[in-house]
């Protein structure tokens, strides 16, 4: 049997597939989020040092994880699109960027909300906070570059190149910020030395991370469907779709 690997690489065939996939991922996200929130707010014990305020990590840590994962996935799609000249891959990269930026912002906001009771300041120039902030700048640069180029093919390829340059730079930026931080601050604040987490806390965090992941997939698929319709508006299959919707 010969498998056609590229069957779903054309927008025409992927559009209905994405429609079928969205509810699955959305429901998975909802179920996992309810389970994760139940565990993190009801079952997880109160921390003896940090009280109830620590519970924000059940949103903060998964959001920070997702912000990094999405950047890598986005760059991978972008690179694939650049290498194979595949339209759909570039559309996926474009669809992922806003979600990644939102998770980065969420991680920053929840981080500073957590920092106020823990460290007594809304913002500290901690290595992780700073590199997360720079990650937000990288996302914004990608989105700004893509939206300021009118020709979609050129926007795809320029954005892809920028994402790849960013991926090469992310480790350099991360380590430079880390060394900068250790030079300037000493070890007054060290999140790495936090007490070992209880198993329920870890479970809650993992469930929330999975929920965020499924949400990301669902939202990216929704967004990519809109992008497909917008870009392919003059293609026959889109016209057929809109005619079918009218009749």
């Amino acid at each position: 049997m010969k498998i056609n690997w590229f069957k779903y690489s054309s927008p025409q065939t992927f559009y209905p597939l994405a429609e079928k996939m969205i509810p699955w991922f959305a429901w998975l996200a909802a179920i996992l989020a309810v389970a994760g929130l139940y565990i993190s707010f009801v079952m997880a014990p109160t921390d003896f040092q940090q009280g109830e305020a620590y519970r924000i990590i059940f949103v903060h840590v998964p959001a920070a994880w997702m912000s990094m994962v999405i950047y890598i996935v986005m760059a991978a799609w972008a690179g694939l699109g650049l290498a194979l000249n595949a339209r759909l891959s570039a559309m996926m990269a474009q669809a992922l960027a806003p979600t990644g930026a939102i998770f980065t912002l969420l991680a920053l906001v929840t981080g500073s909300l957590w920092g106020k009771p823990m460290w007594g300041a809304w913002w500290v120039w901690d290595a992780r906070l700073t590199s997360e902030l720079i990650l937000l700048f990288l996302y914004l640069g990608f989105i700004a570059l893509q939206s300021s180029i009118d020709d979609p093919r050129r926007a795809d390829r320029a954005g892809a190149l920028l994402a790849l340059v960013g991926v090469v730079n992310v480790p350099i930026i991360y380590f430079s910020v880390k060394w900068w931080n250790t030079l300037h601050q000493g070890s007054s604040i060290n999140m790495g030395a936090a007490p070992k987490m209880a198993a329920t806390m870890l479970l809650g965090m993992l469930l929330m991370a999975l929920a965020f992941w499924m949400y990301t997939v669902a939202v990216a698929l929704m967004r990519v469907r809109c992008i497909m319709l917008e870009r392919e508006r003059s293609a026959d299959w889109v016209k057929a779709l809109s005619l079918g919707a009218k009749s």
Binding site: L140, G141, A144, S148, A158, L162, V165
Partner: protein, 222 residues
Amino acid sequence: MNDAWLIILKRDLLLAFRRRSDVATTLFFFLIVSSLFPLGVGPEVAVLSSIAPGVLWVAALLAGMISLNRLFAADFTDGSLEQMLIAPQPLALLVLAKILAHWLVCGLPVVLLAPLIGLQYALPNDALLVLVWSLLLGTPTLSLIGAIGAALTLGVRGSGLLVALLVLPLYIPVLIFGAGAVAASQHGMSAQAHLSLLAACSLLSLVLAPLATAAALRISVE
């Protein structure tokens, strides 16, 4: 191959020499930005010398950035960029010549002017020397990475601000190591680790950035 490389370098230097005010603009920008800080912060010597490494490096970063738009724009409008794209020589090499010319015109003067401003900030002598070394090793990276941004935003509306958004986050490691080197020597420590890292950044971007810039130019011009 070498000929084409040299010809482009000479041509760009000659063009810059004929339009001397362009070079002066970058230099004056650097001068003005670094003179604003004492006015804003106050003239206390202790404060000034403690902020000097960061201020001078940020000013150098911004001065390098505002001149990026000129890197390819003129060649793009008069069509000579297209000739470079279809030339038999590897585009990355020709691009490297343009970047080198840009650094000689916009980077090197800043390196040479910096110790003078460092004096105004009451930097001690050995810190001044480290400042020059760090700028000498670091500013080529700025031109190399900046070229990618300049190539990506070629002919795009609002490219001046866009290039800042794309390039400045990528400049952060150079800023950290460069300002760190000067600060280390101010505190009586060895600046060698920082300088080595700066040199490593320069070498890495020397290899990768011309290739990425060439790819970006092909995307932008096609």
